[in-house]
Symmetry: C2
Subunit: 296 residues, 2 copies
Amino acid sequence: MDFKIELKKRATEINDSLDRLLPPARTYPGIIHEALRYSLFAGGKRLRPALALAAAEVINGCRRDIMPAACSLELIHTYSLIHDDLPAIDNDDLRRGMPTCHKKYGEAIAILAGDALLTMAFELLSMCPVNNSITPERLIKVISEISRAAGVGGLIGGQVVDIVSSSRNIDGSVLEYIHRNKTGAMYRVSVRTGAILSGAADDDLERLTRYADHLGLAFQITDDILDLVGDEKSIGKPVHSDLKNEKATYPSLYGMEKALLMSQEEKEKALEAIEVYDERADFLRELVKFVVKRNH
Amino acid sequence: MDFKIELKKRATEINDSLDRLLPPARTYPGIIHEALRYSLFAGGKRLRPALALAAAEVINGCRRDIMPAACSLELIHTYSLIHDDLPAIDNDDLRRGMPTCHKKYGEAIAILAGDALLTMAFELLSMCPVNNSITPERLIKVISEISRAAGVGGLIGGQVVDIVSSSRNIDGSVLEYIHRNKTGAMYRVSVRTGAILSGAADDDLERLTRYADHLGLAFQITDDILDLVGDEKSIGKPVHSDLKNEKATYPSLYGMEKALLMSQEEKEKALEAIEVYDERADFLRELVKFVVKRNH
């Protein structure tokens, strides 16, 4: 498998679904639909929906039926980026080389575009076709897990601790709390969404969840490394933003050598968690290798 | 029934449930829980949950079982107030005589507290006990309706049009769009939530929905009137804010006399919609009378 081509193919499929599932750009009132589509279709690898779909594949779930749920994960990711970029939070002018939502549409519309995407995520979830695999009970379980992962015990909690810890010396446990919640919770729930809606048995769910947790950490450690040693063009956002914002990172806390080693360890653990599966898990395997390889 | 006492009694019951259903105030990270509780427990009549519970009563639903769903409506209402008050939107310093969330906790935490409440609303919904009355299918239907009512085709859409119409001459149809969506959609879905989760038949659902739509308009027209002729102390927020923000209102568009007449007409239509019911609908009847009587 040429992983980059495969990832791109899957991103295109997800983009087509997002476009179909969302209200058309010219829906009244136009500005909010334009703004939320601007941020949603600004690029991005669609990793969270891809994880949900890939987890479904491992246990023979129906990709098409879980697509609305997979897309809901991307809406939540995009909403969190729009709000994080706001002047009161990270105050970023650029995202993937383009003006951030509030730079383009103003702060009021950016706040509301974020709110709209978060709300729409739950609308998409409620639209999943109910059938033998996606039972109503499983759908409610997924809604419950996604709302927790995106909430104060997940994404938002991680963001809050990140903000209040900025410019302070923090230790490894706080750094881990931030990443486990700010990014890890959504990776975990993405994989679980695909698995649960496909009717995964408990042991499958446990293995895939373990995979997701190690993937999330591998990803975050690598992101921290790239912020120090990457170049702006290839990672698509300004480098040294952690330094600028005085944020603790894995390299700043453990040193570059140890951080590189940690990312390799997380990759190995992720691969180990899913070693019982045949080639249906290859996308997940290639993904974690790809994530860590960005270092080199 | 002394309606004010009854409304207060119900608000207390709802507050107790909100307090029990939310994570404790001292949950880590403390600041976000403190901030969202600050705004959630800043007073307020709890009209939306009260409407859900009252609609359930009309058709003999179980108040206790639908309480998490009823509470979710208040979380959405509070989130929308926190975000509306932000400097980039209405820039209000006071709400019910107290500093607004961003004045007390800063803008970053206020944005995230709003996000947290919106997300938690869907967590509460997914927590409703599934049983003979609250079937999983009905719960998914309610999640779908609430996400639509709170989204770009409801609350957020109304807010967007309100913002872009400010300082412009707008006509009656735009004003109606704003109110039907910004406030009306949540009143409507509040009543429908209580009814659907109680297993309402189609004709009951239709009557209660009609009631809610007229109640919503009666409420909004009265709010506009009070902003002109009320006093700050009794309505608990600064008066003349519509003038300050150059917002179109019913009195500015139709004149005070006509606006008063319109609020009476909406009240009559609301009462008519539920005239087939016995005393179990008395709370709904007294509510719409109370809403309009605030004029006098």
